[in-house]
């Protein structure tokens, strides 16, 4: 899934239909739209309420051709609808092409029409802050795919909306139906059991010692790192979100949530290969990552190679060897990469050395490497480095981080602090 960056700051959202299509079957339309909202509220903490007001959070309209938002419709076929990401004004609004024949369910072989529920369910994902997903079976896949009347949100979409708004609590252990013999593989009808992983992270608790309770279907227990008891491998701010990498996993943190002292515990990490495709299948860690200041593309360092991504789409022609960057052939890995706001230059660190990288030339500068001693107080062999949005530079090693004073060129006198408390909010 892909999060666009904006989200609603409340969990109860109102919706209204502002412009109807010609000859509308109003009850069918209202029913299908309500059903489309329901599949999102079923797995998240969101709730939706239909109102008769033009200032609802999500305004729904059926328009033809040019309709004043700069995104004209094209008549029957191709583009069916669009929606705006969360925000004021047009934010959250959903527009359907009024020239399509909107129907309930799938058309029969000798009829035509577009299933309103299928399209609305997808568009409401945008209204909630999700962008298109390249997972073909997901609801947020951009191409129209008819879905069953009883659709439940696919896993990819469920994790996406839960990342934004949290998961609705679901019973993980359910009483046996009367007369059923207890087994360890009792299957419940709760298709969203997988979503409990998102809420509870890797800490799925063992079943209670009660023979009347049996485990429901659940995914394999992931061996995910614990944010409150862990070092990190790499981190970077990518499109306004902080991505922290550890082992095969990464955390994706919203800076506003991080700065909120009342924020809940850190969300569980996600598997790197579920989002960043094309990295090695046997990847066990990312060495370093940074966002190129010239074009916002993302560079990953793994061993003696590097990969380039545009958003989460891998660029062709990668991986390439570190030597393409002018780094020595015997260099086996990069510890950390930092775009330093003090001068806008990119720095690559390994062991006791660092290089300054010229983004325009695509190579490290001539009189490097230099000794890390230049960065007074920063230990050799750092794990990661970052210029945070507070303007300060941070270096990470083991379970600690150092704040660096860019003007005095030395680390903060207070010494290293615990990563878990500042970056993950652990107590």
């Amino acid at each position: 899934y892909a999060i666009q960056g904006q989200k609603w700051s409340k969990n109860l959202l109102t919706w209204s239909i502002n412009d109807w299509p010609e000859g509308a079957n109003t009850s069918m339309i209202r029913e299908q739209l309500a059903k489309a909202f329901h599949i999102w509220s079923e797995v998240s903490k969101l709730e939706f309420q239909e109102v008769q007001a033009t200032d609802a959070d999500i305004g729904i309209s059926f328009f033809r051709g040019y309709h004043g938002d700069g995104y004209p419709f094209d008549g029957k076929g191709l583009v069916l609808a669009h929606a705006f990401f969360p925000g004021d004004g047009l934010g959250g609004d959903t527009h359907f092409d009024g020239e399509e024949l909107w129907i309930r369910g799938q058309p029969s072989s000798d009829s035509e029409g577009v299933d309103l529920f299928s399209v609305a369910a997808h568009e409401f994902g945008h209204s909630l802050g999700l962008a298109h997903s390249s997972v073909i079976d997901s609801l947020m896949f951009p191409y129209y795919q008819p879905i069953g009347d009883d659709l439940r949100l696919p896993y990819d979409d469920a994790v996406g909306v839960q990342q934004l708004y949290g998961a609705r609590k679901l019973p993980k252990w359910e009483p046996l139906p009367p007369g059923t013999i207890p087994t360890t593989q009792h299957t419940t009808t709760n298709l969203y059991e997988t979503t409990t992983y998102v809420e509870d992270g890797s800490h799925l608790t063992p079943p209670p010692d009660d023979e009347n309770l049996v485990p429901s279907t659940r995914p394999p227990r992931p061996l995910a790192p614990d944010a409150c008891n862990s070092s990190i491998d790499a981190l970077s701010i990518i499109r306004r979100e902080l991505f922290i990498f550890k082992g095969k996993y990464f955390w994706r943190l919203n800076s506003k949530e991080m700065n909120n002292s009342d924020s809940s515990p850190p969300p569980p990490p996600l598997a790197i290969d579920r989002f960043w495709y094309n990295l090695p299948a046997d990847l066990d860690r990312v060495d370093a990552v940074y966002v190129r200041p010239l074009d916002d593309k993302i560079v990953f360092f793994l061993g003696n190679r590097f990969w380039l991504f545009n958003a989460n789409i891998p660029e062709p022609g990668y991986p390439r060897p570190l030597t393409d960057l002018g780094l020595p052939a015997n260099l086996q890995h990069v510890d950390a990469a930092l775009v330093w706001g003090h001068n806008g230059k990119t720095y690559l660190f390994t062991g006791q050395q660092y290089w300054r990288f010229d983004e325009v030339e695509g190579r490290v500068e001539l009189d490097y490497p230099r000794s890390i001693i230049m960065w007074r107080g920063v230990p050799a062999g750092i794990d990661a480095a970052l210029q945070w949005e507070d303007g300060k530079t941070y270096f990470f090693k083991d379970e600690y981080f150092w704040t660096f004073d860019d003007k005095r060129m030395k680390t903060d006198a207070q010494g290293p602090k615990l990563i878990s408390s500042f970056w993950f909010g652990c107590s």
Binding site: G5, L78, L80, A131, H132, S134, P142, Y143, A311, P316
Partner: protein, 87 residues
């Protein structure tokens, strides 16, 4: 210098419009299509094919054109380009 791409874009689908509209080519270049070079177009097509899960040929082959004709959502596919729509 302007470069006329060798890649055939003369199909019944306007591939450049499609790629621009859905975030694979910068929209600002719509008025100067001839300035695109072949590599840029092939990369955009390949990226679009990868996103849709079809064979990455970098060509406007039958499967790609069929995909471009499929009914779909009007929002762009890439995160960066999707940010443009809100403005």
């Amino acid at each position: 210098h302007p470069v006329t791409p060798n890649i055939s874009l003369r199909t019944d689908v306007d591939a450049v419009v499609f790629l621009s509209k859905f975030g694979y080519l910068p929209q600002t270049d719509l008025a100067s299509r001839e300035l695109r070079n072949e590599t840029q177009l092939r990369d955009a097509i390949r990226q679009m094919q990868r996103f849709a899960g079809i064979k990455e040929t970098g060509e406007l082959d039958e499967g790609t054109i069929a995909l471009m004709k499929r009914r779909r959502c009007g929002m762009p596919d890439l995160i960066g380009s999707s940010e443009r729509i809100k403005r």
